[in-house]
């Protein structure tokens, strides 16, 4: 196997971005071909990575370790294990499909594709990094392309949404940076390597603040968690997300909901759980409660939305709550459920946002209900049966209908959570009913009933659109019926993480 396949996967998109920028302005179409080709190669490589991944081993594979900044012992170190191996091909696939989806763009092709590919590198890097500094660099670098894409090609309120997003995320990064520096200087020898830092090295370390001695582990756990929670997004740090989703260009919204926010949940396990097992045990109940709050709060907010993008965005907030609930309970079942949920949520939310984008592009509006009480779309099932079909799959995947999308993952979370937190599990189950409530409410008004005003221009799905929708539909079915391969990929590493976490349990 190629030695630096992971670096190739992470940096190919960046190379593509450079190529797109270097190609002269004259021939506009060539930019998308370059972007498509590069993202396709990236995806193929990432499939090769998974194919060669040894899913019986728990440790880091395909590891790359190079000295980068010797004076600070920062290393360029990448690697995959069960926690992140599934996200690499998922990211690559979604970016590939998004590039197909932006095929008929006319304006600003060059900058658009370049920024999009830069974002791909940043997200892939965040998943693959095994060095805290490197992770932070990718983590923060992802903000720039999103800011510019939303700020330039977004909808009416784009500047407000982009700025809000950036400030929220940077505040999170500031917490993260402080926590990172604190543990760097406490650890002996100083290191940013996640492997060197992990395993409860900070359990006994204490610092004095204002004359009071505080445990480093708990303090830094909360600092870093705050940084990651902003991205997850955990209520009450979520309000940037619906705004951003409503203003982002449709294709970017897919990436944001399906993969970008997953980096937050992933990083909690990769960094917080690995580095601070004792504090993780101490704080896990709060995480589980926060998960339940997310489920219910996001669901209730989604019920009140008139704008279909905001509705789906709040549904994401709610469904990330299942992930958080699963991560807050250190049982193998719940943990696996949380991981499966992260992957399958990426698939069905991606599909949902693609479809929302198609609706918006056709009709130029996103309102389910007009201010005067009439429906914005209505009766699409007769005008666009294929579109309705795709939408049905997406909606039922989100609902967690058996055999589709969210069903196995949510079931696992509930099964795992029930013995530990009965009340939270019941509350979480309430979230499923809320999901059914807002999604079916939306579905009825958009697709059933009389043909409304906004439905006039809506034509059915084209062949090119089917090209990027069908893979996601297949994946929804796959994740809903036969998630075993996905679980197998993650199992050894998750068990290892759980063992080290439960060792610290009192």
């Amino acid at each position: 196997m190629v030695r630096n396949i992971l670096s190739a996967i992470v940096f190919l998109p960046l190379l593509g971005a450079a190529l797109v920028l270097l190609i002269s302005r004259e021939d506009k179409r060539i930019h998308r071909y370059v972007a498509l080709l590069i993202s396709l190669i990236t995806f193929v490589l990432s499939c090769l990575l998974v194919a060669n991944f040894d899913h019986t081993a728990a440790g880091v594979q395909f590891a790359e370790n190079y000295e980068w900044i010797t004076s600070l012992k920062i290393s360029y170190s990448l690697g995959v294990d069960g926690l992140n191996v599934a996200f690499i091909p998922l990211t690559a696939l979604l970016f590939l499909l998004c590039i197909v989806a932006s095929w008929d763009r006319v304006a600003g092709l060059k900058g658009y594709f370049a920024l999009f590919l830069i974002l791909e590198t940043a997200v892939l890097g965040t998943f693959a990094a095994q060095d805290l500094f490197l992770l932070f660099a990718f983590w923060s670098a992802a903000l720039l392309p999103i800011y510019f894409m939303v700020g330039v090609w977004g909808n009416k309120n784009r500047e407000y949404a982009a700025t809000k997003f950036f400030l929220y995320q940077l505040a999170g990064s500031a917490f993260l940076l402080l926590g990172m520096l604190a543990i760097y200087y406490i650890a002996e020898p100083h290191s940013f390597s996640l492997l060197d830092l992990s395993g409860g090295k900070f359990t006994s370390a204490r610092i004095d603040i204002g004359g009071r001695s505080l445990g480093v582990e708990h303090l830094v756990f909360i600092l870093m968690l705050a940084g990651f929670a902003v991205r997850l997004p955990v209520v009450p740090l979520h309000s940037w997300f619906p705004h951003l989703q409503a203003e982002a260009p449709p294709v970017l919204a897919v990436v944001l909901a399906a993969i970008f926010i997953k980096t937050g949940a992933y990083a909690i396990v990769r960094v917080n759980y690995a580095l601070f097992p004792e504090a993780a045990n101490w704080f896990a109940p709060v995480l589980a409660v926060a998960g339940a709050v997310n489920i219910i709060y996001g669901g209730i907010c989604a019920l009140g939305q008139k704008d279909i993008r905001r509705l789906v965005a709040y549904s994401c907030v709610s469904h990330m709550g299942f992930v958080l609930l699963g991560l807050g309970i250190f049982s193998s079942t719940a943990f696996h459920g949380a991981f499966l949920q992260m992957v399958s949520h990426g698939v069905y939310t991606g599909l949902l946002f693609f479809l929302v984008g198609i609706l918006g592009a056709r009709s130029g509006q996103y309102d389910i209900m007009n201010p005067d009480g009439s429906v914005g779309f209505g009766g699409l099932v007769s005008k666009a049966p294929l579109l309705t079909g795709f939408f049905t799959v997406a909606v039922f995947s989100t609902l967690g209908v058996p055999g589709l999308g969210a069903f196995p993952s949510e079931s696992l979370v509930f099964l795992g959570a029930f013995p530990y937190h009965r009340l939270l599990t019941v509350i979480g189950l309430g979230g499923v009913f809320l999901t059914a409530g807002y999604l079916l409410w939306m579905y009825r008004r958009v697709f059933l009933g009389k043909v409304g005003e906004g439905a006039g221009q809506i034509t059915d799905v084209t062949l090119r659109e089917q090209v990027f929708l069908v893979p996601l539909v297949l994946l929804c079915v796959f994740a809903g019926t036969y998630p075993t391969p996905l679980i197998n990929l993650a199992q050894p590493t998750i068990n290892q993480v759980l063992t080290s976490l439960n060792k610290e349990a009192k």
């Binding site: 900044i69 004076s71 660099a137 670098a141 500031a174 604190a182």
Partner: protein
């Protein structure tokens, strides 16, 4: 023979002096027979001289630390590093001057000569370890700044800036002089090394030290534009012609920071292993940390409400200096290395910002923040460059501004100044708010955003390459900065102070 060797060691300064004289002479002689090429000739001589000085100072980076001219000047890697930055800043500001539309072609020779002389004064400031020489250099830099601030004679804002700076400068000079005399009372010498020996060997009354330190600190605060004398800087940055704004915000701050190191580290701390030890009965770090925290917070908060582009950058520079200042009270090698590194990045990035801002303001004939509207669609290169500089000032990875910020925050956390690190983190987010407000304009796609057409001061080849020279370190050092940091750390290990 010894003197000849000393002259060799100060060759960058000699080169600067020669450049100033030659520029003036060429300017005068070309005035007798004015021709179309004469402004270019003057610019050429000034730039050539400065480039020569830069080459000489780059060469002097490796010199072993010595004290020359009866221990009046210290030539060490740190002082030479600061001189290199100063001369680099001089080159960019002269280039800015040559492009400026605010300054008439016939006045440019004088502008260059003053900029070069100011740079010379600041270079001496960076090296001086004798208070008389330090005072003279301080004054030389100060006087050129007064004249430069008022250079746009027809503008009342510019004259106001000059007068303000002059009045404030005269006051602080007097206080500075009193401070020097008080220190003379301790060391019975004007030599900084003697004063330090005396300070570290015998215990002095704390009150006396506070007064002496405070008086000199006031002189420093005026030059660095830090609290409580920050309010002057935005007036000058706004009123003065753009090349001078950039000279004032960059060169003056670099020299001020060199002065701050001299005062805090070289006089009021004793040498230790990998760190400098504070005097037992005199805790100046408390003052500096407080000033740093207040300075950056005030700079950032006030910048939020600015609508004038240059003034906004002026306030942002105050905040930047506040960040830099955090590294001094730490007074470990790592802390000072972080300060020097950030000083270098501050120099490059701020110069870049002013470089583009000048093009835009000159072209639009206005200084409102809205003139940036849609810049990137009209002039992609300049627009993207400005965004890179602003994001670097905001301290975002993977740009060089982040690296400096990271090091400084690192030493602050390491020294357990947790409250300061939280203040700095909050300011990080605050700062981003107004940098984004500028970037938002640059990328604006509103109707009419592209109506202005390309910049009329559209950059020629020289300007484009100067911009590239400024962009390159901003991008490259953000990803791989090890060599520079290693150089700085090694220099600190080598310095005698």
């Amino acid at each position: 023979m010894e003197e000849l060797k000393s002259l060799f060691l100060i060759s960058p300064e000699l080169m600067l002096f020669a450049t100033a004289i030659v520029t003036l002479l060429v300017d005068i002689s070309s005035r007798r027979r004015p021709s179309d090429s004469s402004p270019r000739l003057v610019t050429g001589f000034a730039l050539l001289g400065l480039l020569g000085a830069l080459a000489l100072s780059l060469r002097s980076l490796g010199f072993a630390p010595t004290e020359i001219f009866s221990r009046a000047l210290s030539i060490d890697p740190v002082s030479q590093f600061i001189k290199t930055l100063l001369i680099f800043a001089g080159i960019i500001t002269v280039l800015q001057g040559s492009m400026s539309r605010e300054i008439h072609d016939t006045e440019k020779g004088e502008l260059y000569a003053l900029l070069v002389l100011g740079t010379l004064g600041m270079c001496v400031m960076a090296s001086a370890v004798h208070f008389l020489l330090l005072f003279l250099a301080y004054e030389m830099a100060g006087v050129t700044c007064y004249v430069l601030a008022a250079f746009k004679r027809r503008s009342s804002l510019s004259s106001e800036a000059g007068v303000k700076l002059f009045i404030h400068g005269s006051l602080t000079t007097i206080l500075f002089a009193i401070g020097i005399v008080m220190l003379y009372g301790i060391g019975k010498s004007f030599n900084i090394l003697d004063i330090r020996t005396q300070l570290t060997s015998a215990t002095m009354p704390t009150g006396y030290l506070w007064v002496a330190f405070g008086l000199i600190f006031v002189a420093l605060a005026g030059r660095l534009a830090i609290f409580p004398f920050h309010f002057l800087a935005p007036d000058i940055v706004e009123g003065a012609p753009s090349p001078v704004s950039s000279f004032f915000s960059v060169s003056s701050c670099i020299a001020g920071m060199a002065f701050a190191l001299r005062l805090c580290i070289h006089i009021f701390s004793a040498k230790g292993d990998l760190k400098w030890v504070h005097l037992a009965n005199f805790e100046w770090p408390d003052l500096i940390t407080a000033v740093a925290a207040v300075t950056m917070t005030i700079g950032n908060l006030t910048a939020l409400y600015q609508t004038n582009l240059k003034r906004l950058i002026g306030y942002s520079c105050i905040a930047q200096v506040g960040y830099l200042l955090m590294g001094i009270p730490v007074s470990t090698h790592a802390g000072i290395a972080a300060v020097l590194f950030s000083l270098g990045t501050y120099c490059v990035v701020t110069l870049g910002t002013f470089f583009v801002i000048q093009m835009v303001t000159d072209s639009a004939g206005s200084e409102k923040i809205t003139i940036l509207r849609g810049l990137v669609w009209r002039n992609p290169y300049e627009g993207v460059a400005l965004c890179v500089f602003l994001l670097s000032l905001a301290g975002l990875p993977p740009l060089v501004g982040f690296v400096g910020r990271f090091y400084i925050l690192g030493v602050v956390v390491r020294e357990k100044l947790y409250w300061l690190s939280i203040v700095a983190a909050i300011n990080w987010v605050l700062g981003l708010t107004y940098y984004l407000s500028m970037i938002k304009q640059v990328f604006s796609t509103d109707a009419g955003a592209t109506a202005g057409g390309p910049l009329t001061t559209s950059a020629n080849f020289v300007a484009k390459s100067a911009l590239a020279v400024l962009l390159l370190p901003t991008l490259v050092l953000g990803i791989y900065w090890d060599p520079l940091m290693n150089y700085i750390t090694r220099s600190l290990g080598a310095v005698a102070w």
